[in-house]
């Protein structure tokens, strides 16, 4: 398969549009859950935990947790889409087989899937941001908006990691490992609900391997108006970029073997 031309083209977008068309039919159900999820979280954690915790890192708990929830929504939506949903398209619906018989290359197909998962991650995140802005608690709205492109990069990174996992999946059971050893650790160790610095050093070391930790480290200062060291921010973004490239390469290589051999 030729991959010499830039794969970000109309063929990749044709794959993206296919997923948009299917999603449009369940759009309202999907958006409702995207909005209600953070509402339930805010209600439970904001009132529950917020009442116990006066201040965390110099912020109210609500202000602290909202950027983490934005990152979490991004991560969960992009991860779910590229694992459970992509695997259904591959193994049950034959969607990938149908597409690969057309001029769309494997690289474009993977890219189209990743872009779609990025879209879902961003939509899910925007619902959290919207809820946060209405509920109150986004301390620096301009900074939160500025964080959107970083979160989109994060979504793309999670999407590529999900695809790399799916490329290795032989049965549905595989995804239990993915969620237990990838999604859940990012939920609890990456600073969504409390600071990473509370962990002993070896847990922190593992936490900094997770892309979510880097994403939150950039998004939280932006959305709360906190101090963000430019060099550190560049480092976090660079980590996401490198991991994204590696995951995409791994997914592409593994899928090529599964599809063509």
């Amino acid at each position: 398969m030729s991959t010499s031309t830039l794969p970000l083209n109309r063929y990749a977008f044709a794959v993206w549009r296919r997923n948009v068309m299917v999603w449009r039919r369940i759009m309202w159900a999907s958006l409702t859950t995207n909005v209600c999820d953070p509402l339930l979280f805010l209600f439970a954690f904001g009132y529950g935990l917020g009442a116990v915790i006066d201040e965390i890192a110099g912020l109210t708990y609500l202000a602290f947790v909202l950027p983490g929830m934005m990152a979490y929504a991004t991560m969960f939506a992009a991860s779910f889409e590229t694992t459970i949903s992509t695997y259904a398209r591959i193994s049950m619906q034959g969607t990938w087989n149908a597409i690969l018989a057309t001029p769309v290359t494997l690289t474009e197909l993977i890219l189209g899937e990743a872009l779609w998962a990025t879209t879902k991650g961003v939509v899910s995140m925007l619902c959290v941001l919207g809820v946060g802005l209405v509920w109150g608690g986004i301390q620096a709205p301009a900074g939160a908006l500025a964080a959107i492109p970083i979160l989109a990069l994060g979504a793309f990174c999670f999407a590529c990691c999900g695809l790399a996992a799916t490329a290795h999946a032989k049965t549905w059971d595989f995804f239990a490992y993915f969620f237990t050893f990838w999604v859940t650790p990012m939920f609890v160790f990456s600073g969504t609900f409390f600071e990473v610095t509370r962990f002993p050093w070896f847990v922190q070391a593992v936490a900094w391997l997770l892309p979510m930790t880097h994403l939150i480290a950039v998004v939280r200062p932006l959305a709360t108006g906190g101090a963000l060291v430019p060099l550190a921010a560049v480092g976090h973004v660079a980590y996401l970029v490198v991991l994204t490239a590696f995951a995409f390469w791994l997914a592409r290589r593994r899928f090529a073997r599964r599809v063509f051999d």
Binding site: M1, S2, Y11, A14, R17, M21, T95, P103, V104
Partner: protein
């Protein structure tokens, strides 16, 4: 026209399984070629290699005069595939399925608006445009998959068991359309388990089994070569010496099949007490002679 498709010494190994063991053939432009073989013979693998969907372990494929390894996406623009499984988008409508697929070929929205209704009409689906794929019968889904394969007006159409599991009415419609496509000058490659279908549609037949080409030729040629044109099915037991030595025969259990080019001569020799059935030989006889009568698993 010269060969639209040329396969040379194609081989495919999956671990220890040698699925295709050196298959070579050519398909001339504007013809319909049937690839026949029992389950597990290597038909689908061979087709996938022709389309660049499976990498051959050895050998090469040329399509439209170029090596597919070097052709990139361009050769896919000129091929329509009707896969064995209906991999339509179940969540989309009939029309949307065609539009979505058309975009994979980079076809503009304006062209699709003009082409989709024509294809729906061609496959007699014009009244089902807004139906969900899930609501379609098996025959309609199959017709939609064929319509979909034509979205980019391909020169070569590959049909993998296009009528398996369909009722006779649906099969007849699909046959008519395949013949229409041939009349339009399209090149067709099809696999099927229905020998009447192959005989009716194909100009040439390639019989493969255990990953090898057993024989190829025009249907009439194959019938002449392997089963002489006429079959006598003689019920056992048979008196000694009833059937002339020079005629080929096959014991199939309860009876013996005898193949002959001169039915009158054989009939004259048969004693009155011998029960027999005489019929014209067909492709099914050829197929069973070449690939054997043993049941295939998988």
């Amino acid at each position: 026209m010269a060969g639209i498709v040329e396969a040379r010494d194609l081989e495919k190994r999956y671990g220890d399984v040698h699925a295709v063991r050196g298959v070579s053939f050519a398909i001339a432009g504007g013809t319909c070629v049937g690839l026949l073989g029992p389950n597990g013979a290597g038909k689908t693998t061979t087709m996938r290699m022709l389309l660049g969907l499976t990498r051959p372990s050895a050998g090469r494929v040329e399509v439209f005069g170029g090596d597919i390894a070097a052709l990139g996406r361009d050769f896919r623009m000129r091929i329509g595939l009707v896969p064995q499984d209906d991999n339509l988008d179940p969540d989309l409508s009939v029309r949307e399925n065609l539009e979505v697929y058309g975009r994979y070929f980079g076809i503009s929205a304006a062209t699709l608006r003009e082409r989709v209704p024509k294809l729906l009409a061609f496959m007699q689906l014009e009244e089902r445009g807004d139906a969900k794929v899930m609501q379609l019968s098996g025959g309609m889904k199959r017709r939609l998959v064929i319509a979909r394969s034509l979205i980019a007006d391909p020169e070569l159409i590959v049909l993998d068991e296009p009528t398996t599991g369909l009722d006779p009415q649906a099969r007849v419609l699909i046959w008519r359309r395949v013949l229409d496509l041939k009349r339009q000058g399209k090149t067709l490659l099809l696999t099927t388990h229905y020998m009447d279908e192959a005989q009716r549609l194909c100009d040439r037949i390639i019989v493969i089994d255990a990953g090898k080409v057993l024989d190829e030729g025009r249907p009439a040629e194959l019938i002449e070569r392997h089963v002489r044109g006429h079959v006598f099915e003689l019920t056992k037991p048979l008196p000694e010496g009833v059937v002339p030595e020079e005629l080929e025969r096959e014991d199939i259990g309860d009876s013996i099949l005898v193949y002959t080019a001169d039915p009158a001569a054989l009939r004259d020799r048969l004693p009155a007490e011998v029960e027999y059935l005489h019929r014209a030989a067909n492709l099914e006889d050829v197929f069973l002679r070449l690939t054997g009568r043993r049941l295939r698993e998988g």
